[in-house]
């Protein structure tokens, strides 16, 4: 194989040399190429651009103009429902750290599912992609087919995003300016009860805790007196809504950009300047002593094209930006956890006796003080991607031959600075902790924190030609990548932190062939080398093949008025993934330092110990994906176009810690390529466009279903078969099967369970505790009784539908997106909002109808309780993972709705403008979900900085 590589490279290089040396001498006209390709739409892709009608890859793409419709700071949050096959899930809404989770066609592996992102043909880190401005983007294509991904070799298994930036258009110089301004607020927040309900329920919890002490009798033992309760009720007692105190009504969002475009046959330019500012939700006091969470971003892009000496096409692209983030000097997730867990009645924001910030040893971090009294921390990021691309059209050698060399430098660095202070905590005039109020001190004026640089080179030789009925488009390339980062930016996993260099090579090829525009065939390959593996085991070969038939070009369908287009296609191919979360260099047998052992009689000698770490596996290699796809594309009446696919992804060789080895082996087990997952599903999308008397409209919908199954994962053997993770979908929750709550009648007078009931082994139980099923029937409920208790948190069904209409200058669009088949385990996903009182935390409405029985107080919820009896103590029985806490995670959202008006041309001419459009839009204005309906929980962002909705107004003009 190595010979082939060297031969290929040698050939390409030789061709390059010839091309270069003959370039000056040659001045023949070679312009005839691609006269009609500009007419027909092309599909972007690896190595080749194929006409969509003849494409076998059928990858969806979305133009930057559509992404721009969603005014959000992070590009990944514009992708909802725009690319069929890409599931996008919203995560934290914290400015600057709001990446959405991206998965292609469900989840294919329990190892790393990150998909690589390519911008103008070169891979970039996720962070580079996330803060590109949509204004810079021409299109994003989702690569999910086996052919494109085989050509990406060891980077292909998880699919890829293929981003193309905006270039200049030849013709008259155009300037487009756009401004949008928005008001952002949380989609929803699951808020705890106020002081009255907190105190009322605390009384129940505390009384419950004395049940066993009181000889299994219900004795009312309140902590809060009736007078205290009354004071909470009538508003005289302390009742702080921490969310109200910490958050503003609105955060803000502004984006403004200017795009210059123009040029002629020999040179074109596209210049884009973009400024974005997102101002977070924290209601900080005015002044410079603190800061809300915020990000400002300045992007500049200059994409230049030059044609010269007839055969050369050059591109010089510079994409640079600055990101400034600033936050209160307090950990964001901890702040949100404090707001979620600090009860409303603990203290007022300011201590009424002293006027200083309130705080106690139990609740030391007053959330309002956390954002105001600790100072701020900021980061300053600088990024530059510079790409240079040179194409030589070698039609003088043979018609349709070309060579292309491209190089990319991508560099990023981050500096940090902060000004910090601390504050004294007071309660009732008493200083409760040792903290003292200090002045703001500048810590790091600007200290370098992290960086990366990424150098890449791609050499391509291609050939496009049509001979009679045969049409061939082919390319082969050599790619080399050298990525280097700081340890603190390095991925998790073994041997990562110190090993900051990543080298990778890929030789790839792709040939697309069409006969008479009817019969299509395509082959592709990637031959990749990764530095992660042992010297003789670094290269992997990934082939793919695809066949198709454009039936509508057959004579019997030609000019059929109903079925205007029909193509069927099938693809199979291999790809790999070399970025395991388990780590790198797993083939090396490392020894690590391990303690000190002493020897010596009269004096001690310390002897450093070294011990083998995990067992090396010399054969460790990249995870492998075998992808199959069959699809059909058709158009009815030239108006309704439909694409449908069934797919299967069989993963094998997933890097897995081998738990199956006996302990007698005595070593930390090796990582092995033993994991297997099958992921299957289907996709259907349809788009209908029509125009009725000047009324333009379109309707579209897309649906993707994917379900995976772990075939093998070398899991720790379970006692009972029903406890196994193998055979289930990745991330299937495992826990106990709840059977409602224990009733008083389940117990004997002495507080023991009646005979015949299985004994729970998580601590003593009393009426109102959760009763579990003894699955193995041994009379004990314990950790061996666990089984699958629901669906994974990743949805299996992901869908969207959209509508656009335009009439006389007005335009309206709306995008719905939803997901289902997922379930949420409240204990793991929303612990603080679910578990009441334990560890001095809060109580939420979910516990409002907890099991309780105090007839003397008129409390009896035994018949209707949907929450176990309250307790103020750790309760290992009730807060186990179990079916009791599983909830439907499905949701449907309006992702975006926009109403715009474009001024008529007659008016514009007077204003010397080409185009002027004003619009108003809303992002995430509506959500339907079980979780939001019952608990006011955002189904995607259950805890922490919430997901955002926004209302925006914008203007766009071109002159």
């Amino acid at each position: 194989m190595k010979n082939i590589i060297q031969y290929t490279i040698g050939l390409m290089a030789a061709a390059g040399v010839i091309a270069a040396n003959t370039a000056i001498a040659q001045s023949k006209q070679t312009k005839a190429v691609a006269a009609d390709t500009t007419v027909q739409q092309l599909e972007e892709g690896v190595l080749l651009k194929v006409r969509k009608r003849e494409s076998l890859t059928a990858n969806p793409s979305v133009p930057g103009t559509v992404l721009y419709k969603t005014p959000v700071a992070n590009l990944s949050n514009t992708l909802y429902g725009t690319l069929q096959g890409l599931s996008v899930l919203q995560r934290s809404g914290e400015p600057g750290y709001d990446d959405a989770q991206l998965n292609v066609r469900g989840v294919g592996t329990y190892d790393n599912t990150d998909l690589p992102i390519y911008v103008d043909g070169f891979q970039t880190p996720r962070s580079y992609f996330s803060y590109l401005s949509p204004a810079e983007i021409e299109s994003i294509t989702l690569l999910k087919d086996a052919v494109s991904l085989a050509a990406l070799g060891m980077k292909g298994a998880n699919g890829a995003l293929w981003v193309v930036t905006k270039r200049g258009q030849s013709g008259k110089s155009k300037i487009t300016a756009q401004v949008v301004n928005g008001w952002q607020k949380p989609t929803m927040i699951d808020k705890p009860y106020g002081s009255y309900d907190y105190a009322r329920l605390y009384n129940v919890a505390q009384s419950n805790d004395n049940y066993a002490l009181n000889g299994n009798q219900y004795v009312w033992a309140p902590k809060y007196s009736d007078a205290a309760l009354q004071s909470y009720k009538d508003g005289t007692g302390t009742n702080v809504d921490w969310y109200n105190e910490v958050l503003k009504k609105n955060g803000g969002y502004t984006d403004a950009n200017v795009n210059f475009s123009g040029g002629n046959q020999t040179s074109k330019y596209g210049l884009i300047f973009d400024y974005m500012n997102q101002r977070g939700m924290y209601n900080v006091l005015p002044g410079y002593t603190s800061s809300s969470a915020q990000i400002q971003r300045y992007n500049i892009r200059s994409n230049l094209d030059f044609n010269f000496f007839k055969i050369f096409e050059a591109k010089v692209d510079i994409g640079g930006r600055i990101e400034d983030r600033k936050y209160p000097n307090y950990n964001g997730p901890t702040l949100w956890s404090n707001m979620a867990t600090y009860p409303s009645n603990i203290y007022p924001v300011r201590d009424s006796a002293s006027g200083f910030w309130s705080g106690t040893t139990t609740y030391p971090n007053n959330p309002v003080a956390s954002i105001n009294a600790l100072g701020w921390a900021a980061t300053h990021d600088r990024t530059l991607q510079a790409n240079f691309n040179l194409k030589e059209k070698l039609d003088f050698v043979t018609q349709g031959l070309y060579l292309n060399e491209a190089v990319s430098f991508n560099t990023w660095s981050r500096n940090s600075s902060s000004k910090t202070a601390t504050y004294a905590r007071f309660n009732n005039g008493v200083n409760t902790t040792t903290d003292k109020t200090t002045n703001l001190v500048a810590n790091d004026v600007s200290a370098p924190t992290s960086q990366y640089d990424w150098k890449q080179f791609q050499l391509t030789a291609g050939y496009d030609r049509t001979f009679g009925l045969h049409s061939v488009s082919a390319a082969a390339g050599y790619y080399v990548s050298n990525y280097q980062t700081d340890w603190n930016n390095n991925f998790s996993g073994l041997n990562r932190v110190n090993n900051i260099f990543y080298h990778y090579e890929n030789i790839s090829g792709r040939v697309h062939y069409a006969y008479n525009d009817k019969y299509l065939a395509e082959v592709a390959f990637g031959y990749s080398g990764s530095d992660n593996y042992a010297p003789n085991n670094r290269w992997g070969f990934y082939p793919a093949i695809s066949l198709g038939w454009v039936a509508s070009n057959e004579s019997f369908l030609k000019n059929n008025p109903l079925l205007t287009y029909l193509k069927v296609r099938a693809t199979a191919g291999k790809s790999g993934s070399d970025q395991s979360n388990q780590g790198r260099y797993l083939y090396q047998q490392y020894y690590g330092g391990n303690g000190t052992y002493y020897t010596g009689g009269s004096s001690l000698t310390g002897n450093t110990g070294v011990a083998p770490s995990y067992t090396a596996n010399p054969n460790i290699f990249a995870e492998q994906s075998m992808k199959y796809d069959a699809g059909v594309d058709f158009t009815l009446f030239k108006k309704l176009s439909v694409t449908a696919d069934v797919f299967m992804d069989k993963r094998s060789g997933i890097v897995t810690y081998d738990n199956s080895l006996m302990a007698t082996y005595g070593a930390t087990a090796p990582y092995r390529n033993v994991g297997k997952v099958t992921n299957k599903g289907y996709e259907i999308s349809a788009q209908y466009n029509d125009n009725v008397g000047g009324f333009n409209y379109s309707l579209g919908g897309a649906l993707m279903y994917a379900k995976n199954k772990v075939d093998y994962m070398a899991e720790i053997p379970t006692l009972n078969d029903f406890s196994k993770q193998t055979g289930l979908s990745i991330g299937s929750p495992i826990g106990l099967v709840a059977q409602g709550l224990y009733d008083i009648t389940d117990f004997n007078a002495d507080g023991t369970l009646k005979s015949g009931l299985p004994t729970p082994s998580f601590g003593s139980v009393q009426p109102g505790d959760i009763k579990y099923k003894d699955l193995d029937g041994n009379g004990r409920v314990d950790q061996f009784d666990v089984t699958k208790i629901g669906n994974p948190s990743a949805p299996s069904l992901y869908y969207s539908f959209n509508a656009q209409a335009a009439y006389k200058g007005f335009d309206l669009s709306v995008l719905f997106q939803g997901a289902s088949g997922n379930q949420v385990n409240l204990i793991s996903a929303a612990y603080n909002q679910t578990v009441a009182f334990v560890n001095n935390t809060n109580v939420y409405p979910i516990a409002g109808n907890a099991w309780a029985y105090y007839p003397s107080q008129g409390i009896d919820t035994r018949a209707t309780a949907d929450y176990p009896r309250l307790t103020t103590k750790t309760n290992n029985n009730n807060y186990q993972n179990s079916t009791f806490w599983m909830r439907n995670g499905a949701f449907l959202r309006v992702r975006n709705v926009e109403l715009g008006y474009t001024l008529p041309a007659s008016v514009l001419r007077k204003m010397r403008l080409d185009k002027l459009r004003i619009y108003a839009s809303a992002v995430n204005p509506l959500t339907w979900a079980y979780l939001s309906k019952h608990y006011n929980m955002d189904p995607e962002t259950i805890t922490g900085y919430p997901g955002l909705k926004s209302f925006n107004a914008g203007i766009s003009l071109t002159f």
Binding site: E405, Y591, N594, G595, T596, T599, N607, M662, A663, Y665
Partner: protein
């Protein structure tokens, strides 16, 4: 254009070095080859084997998350379980189960990690070719590894019965499905390895290597294994629970009185080697066979159990607390968790007064004035005072040291008979100690126990009284076998309190009352001030009360093997789990 062609040529050259391009610098430089390249590096692997092997059964704190505060005495009825959240609490109240951390602290599986690392050194030490690695040193290292492996198997044998025998470092690709061997086969392997090692090992190491395996240490491993083999739990054809055709995994399959003779011989061999060749001996300032004074007995016993590298210790776990985190939970002066480890009344009753008679403690239900407590405590024998600190009393074993004053050691909420301060005799502010794994006194008691079972009471008394007299107690003269057995067993309890003998001794003796006040049943401790905790000063009164009822079931004669291992289908679980 010339530049371009140059670039192209450079590319070709570049590509031809592709092999190098993917060869990344490895930042972590220690691999299997570097470890066994020099003697110095190999000694690091050896140090690791010592630490990994000899830490068996000891509490540890490796880092913030990885720690286990339990000490074996929490489970053995010597001390209470400490705090309510400890592992010991769960095991004492609910019994052992196959899914939790086992009594041997770092668990069944880690035995094989230690054994594997020892085999790796054994197998790879031949690769070391430098000058320092003489053939003699190489042979010694191999003998050390064998003796360490034998030690770990001996400890496993006592706790689990027959276990899988691994006689080399296996590769992950070979058949790892090793079944359990019989008790007899494990025992035979241990004695063989010890005999082989003892032939090669030195009697003493040069000073800087003191603490490594010696001939006496290898013989000690063997003697300990043979003593447990002679005791009733294994030396039987009727195992403690029915185990069908698998009974040889948990007993020797027959009763053989000769096993006591073998045990006696092995114990005598340790004594001979230790005293004749290794410069070791029982520390008795009054002289061999002479009754010590009470004051001197405290000093001698304190020295023997606490002073690093004293002449009574054959093998110790020499890992200082500060750097390695072992044994940190045994220091009540610096570790608040150790302060939860307090003496039970059940065990207190094993100690006699300094005059050799039994102390009379208030019966349960009787409240006595606190001054009575102080008086009675001050009457106790020297070994008690060297091991415990009485409530309200400045530590006897660090006399006059303010660091060990009651006011320093006391932390609120304390209740129990006395605070364990063993191993800290005159420790001052030292935060580490060498845990004694083999102390010469053990082989005097082993020999005494064996001779008594062989009906050779005269020899038995001779061996027993060496230990008694050093403790400043009058010699025992009892010649009735059954009565003397009880005396010897009580002597084991007192002399080796806290030294990880008691838990397995009472099981292997199959004591009648094991579930009724020894390991299981009512476990009592003193409370103060009308049934509550002790105060720093001005304690009013004290009384004996039940602290908890400990779980006992016959299955607990041996430990459970982790269920996750049993589920792999090769290893048979011990009966009852």
């Amino acid at each position: 254009m010339k530049m371009l062609s140059t670039g192209m040529i450079a590319m070709v050259l570049f590509a031809s070095c592709e092999k190098k391009f993917l060869e990344m610098p490895i930042s972590n430089t220690t691999t299997v080859d570097t470890v066994f390249s020099t003697t110095t590096n190999a000694e690091q692997a050896i140090a690791d084997v010592y630490q990994k092997t000899l830490c068996q059964g000891l509490p540890y704190k490796m880092d913030y998350d990885n720690w286990n505060a339990m000490i074996q005495s929490n489970l053995s009825g010597e001390l209470t379980y400490g705090f309510s959240w400890t592992l010991a609490q769960t095991m004492l109240i609910n019994g052992y189960n196959a899914n939790g951390t086992s009594e041997d602290m770092d668990g069944f599986n880690n035995n094989y990690s230690a054994i594997r690392r020892a085999w790796l050194v054994y197998e790879n030490i031949d690769k070391v070719k430098d000058k320092a690695m003489t053939e003699e040193y190489r042979a010694t290292i191999k003998a050390e590894m064998k003796a360490l492996i034998a030690y770990r198997y001996e400890q496993m044998l006592i706790a689990y019965g027959g276990v899988p025998m691994v006689a080399k470092s296996m590769s992950s690709s070979e058949d790892l499905n090793v079944k359990r061997s019989s008790v007899k086969l494990v025992l035979d392997s241990i004695t063989t390895w010890c005999d082989q090692a003892a032939q090669v090992l030195p009697s003493v190491w040069e000073d800087k290597w003191t603490g490594r395996m010696t001939k006496a240490a290898a013989l000690s491993v063997k003697a300990k294994a043979l003593m447990y083999a002679a005791r009733p739990l294994f030396n039987t054809d009727k195992p403690y629970m029915d185990f069908g055709s698998n009974r040889e995994l948990i007993c020797l399959g027959n009763v053989d009185a000769n096993r006591w003779a073998t045990a006696a011989t092995a114990a005598e061999a340790v004594i001979t080697e230790a005293q004749n060749n290794a410069n070791l001996g029982i520390i008795n300032s009054a002289g061999d066979g002479v009754m010590n004074t009470a004051a001197q007995a405290l000093i001698d016993y304190g020295t023997a159990t606490s002073t690093p590298a004293n002449k009574e210790v054959i093998l110790a776990f020499k890992a200082a607390v500060n750097t390695t985190g072992f044994n940190v939970f045994m220091n009540p002066r610096t570790n608040w968790q150790a302060y939860g480890n307090v003496l039970t009344t059940n065990f207190l009753e094993n100690y006699s007064k300094q005059d050799g008679t039994d102390q009379v403690w208030p019966k349960a239900g009787t409240v006595a004035v606190f001054s009575d407590y102080t008086t009675r405590m001050n009457d106790m024998e020297a070994r008690f005072k060297a091991s415990f600190q009485g409530t309200g009393i400045d530590s006897w074993n660090n006399p006059g040291d303010a660091n060990w004053a009651w006011s320093k050691i006391f932390q609120g909420g304390y209740s129990g008979c006395a605070q364990s301060v063993k191993f800290w005799y005159k420790a001052g502010t030292r935060t580490w100690f060498d845990f004694p794994i083999f102390r010469l006194a053990a082989f005097y008691l082993s020999a005494a126990e064996a001779y008594n079972e062989m009906n050779q009471q005269t020899q038995a008394l001779a061996r027993l009284n060496v230990v008694r007299l050093r403790a400043g107690l009058p010699a025992v003269t009892e010649t009735n076998q059954a009565a003397l057995r009880k005396i010897i067993q009580r002597e084991w309890a007192v002399e080796f309190c806290g030294e990880n003998y008691r838990l397995h001794d009472v099981k292997h003796w199959k004591l009648d009352n094991i579930g009724n006040g020894i390991l299981g049943g009512s476990i009592r401790a003193f409370l103060y001030n009308d049934g509550s905790a002790a105060l720093a000063t001005a304690n009013k009164n004290y009384e004996d009360r039940q602290r908890y009822i400990a779980f006992w079931s016959a299955k607990q004669f041996l430990n459970p093997i982790p269920q996750s291992e049993v589920n792999k289908g090769i290893i048979i679980q011990n009966p009852g789990y």
